[in-house]
């Protein structure tokens, strides 16, 4: 029985590869876009303009506070009623990018706030403009704090990308659901799906850990 199931599974490997490809594709595009937008939002959020900062804060809260499934539904099914028609892939990218941007915004804000006040004051005192203060002084130092959780966040977002199957994209998780129709062994099928994610995510987790250690090395390993 298990042998037969395995054979049947082996036959589905092109489908699995397509799903994995879709997962990687979706994640990659939306992580790159989300990182760019997230940094922008983070910088604006820490900026002096209270209105903009407040609006970004509210938006980030809204996105963090509601299920991603609902967000993706609104974008794909409700936006058309407002005249914005998107195909599933674009809608998925937009929803994931937005999600990534909001989470990354929070990380960037924490990083920027971790830069000692003295650094900003030194830059102010030498007459650097806001842009140069950010670009030359604050961001390079904030990156130390930002990088490890940023990479960690990537892993979470790759896993969240599975929700896009709700609007008809065949990603890795969806392939699991399809295959389980013919090979009704949830344990086996989802073990393989988990393995697929593991292959994509584990290197990122190692990278995050490496970065964390490099950053932490400066502080010296604490002996408790």
């Amino acid at each position: 029985m298990i042998w037969q199931q395995l054979q049947s599974l082996a036959g589905s490997y092109p489908l699995a590869l397509r799903g994995l490809g879709m997962t990687v594709m979706l994640s990659l595009i939306s992580l790159v876009l989300g990182t760019l937008i997230g940094f922008g939002l983070g910088i604006l959020r820490t900026g002096g303009n209270r209105l903009i900062s407040g609006l970004i804060g509210a938006w980030v809260d809204l996105i963090r506070g509601t299920p991603f499934l609902v967000q993706i539904f609104l974008i794909f099914f409700i936006l058309p009623e407002l005249g914005i028609e998107l195909d599933a892939f674009t809608a998925g990218i937009i929803a994931l990018t937005n999600l990534a941007a909001c989470f990354i915004c929070e990380i960037v804000v924490a990083g920027i706030r971790s830069v000692p006040t003295g650094q900003v004051e030194a830059a102010l005192a030498s007459g650097l403009s806001r842009w140069h203060r950010m670009r030359q002084v604050v961001l390079p130092q904030a990156m130390r704090i930002v990088l490890p959780p940023l990479v960690g966040q990537y892993v979470l977002l790759i896993k969240d990308s599975s929700v896009v199957s709700a609007i008809g994209l065949t990603d890795l998780t969806r392939v699991g659901w399809l295959v389980v129709q013919r090979v009704p062994n949830g344990l086996l099928v989802f073990f393989l799906v988990g393995l697929g994610y593991f292959i994509v995510c584990y290197p990122l987790i190692m990278l995050a850990r490496r970065l964390e250690q490099r950053m932490g090395a400066a502080h010296g390993e604490v002996q408790l």
Partner: protein, 240 residues
């Protein structure tokens, strides 16, 4: 009307749910097929347009139709009166019903046995079987699963549930993935249910056309051939 649009577009957009054999499944090579799927393909052929399947899970099916992403919805869906408040159903193209199944060596031998207090009964989330199980087994412990009929069989097979309730054709079709005789399917039905396709009320022309289509294919026997191949026998297993 919608038909004009479809003709102009040259494409019929059909939302399906891949809930498993025999109605809608993805074959070993990744091809989409099944009884409902073939009927939809037949529709597109009669219209003279190509067909595009939009594959959603249960949560996405209705929004897809209501938001106009799909022209019609092809799934083994029961046209309840509550649902018909929102979407327009065609006339039924076949009748089926929910039935109870158990593992072959189970101590639950009949539908009557399952009425015992605390019996764990697996049903599909949102399917009519869920409702019927609640009425038929008021004392039982009803568990709703998501993700398609095969998982009900898996749950019963693994002992997470004592019995399952689902559409009889689905149970028959899906149990073929297991060695013959793994499950006992009770002969008595909990209900008799029609199956129908759905479209929107603002697509009256399409609805009329689909009803006519169903009349035609049942008159010329193509419907019966489809059902005999997919639902009333295991013939499809040879090809898919």
């Amino acid at each position: 009307g919608t038909l004009d649009e479809i003709t102009k577009r040259g494409e019929l957009r059909v939302a399906v749910q891949t809930q498993g054999p025999p109605f809608s499944l993805v074959g070993a090579a990744g091809e989409r097929t099944g009884s409902s799927v073939e009927l939809a393909e037949l529709m597109a052929k009669e219209m003279g347009v190509k067909i595009t399947f939009l594959d959603f899970d249960w949560d996405g099916l209705i929004p897809a139709l209501l938001s106009g992403k799909a022209d019609l919805l092809v799934a083994d869906m029961t046209p309840t009166l509550a649902r018909a408040m929102k979407v327009a159903f065609t006339k039924p193209y076949m009748y089926t019903g929910s039935t109870v199944f158990t593992k072959a060596d189970s101590k639950f031998k009949s539908t009557e046995d399952c009425k015992a207090k605390g019996t764990k009964i697996a049903v599909l989330l949102g399917a009519t079987g869920e409702k019927e199980a609640k009425t038929a087994f008021p004392d039982a412990d009803i568990k709703s699963y998501k993700g398609g009929g095969p998982l009900l069989l898996d749950a019963v097979n693994n002992g997470q549930a004592d019995c399952g309730v689902n559409d009889v054709s689905a149970v028959k079709g899906q149990s073929t993935a297991y060695p013959a005789g793994s499950f006992t399917i009770m002969p008595d039905m909990l209900s008799k249910e029609p199956l129908a396709f759905a479209t929107r009320y603002d697509e009256q022309d399409l609805l009329t056309w689909m009803n006519l289509f169903l009349d035609q294919v049942s008159l010329d026997g193509r419907l019966q051939k489809n059902l005999d191949y997919w639902v009333n026998s295991d013939d499809w297993k040879k090809d898919h």
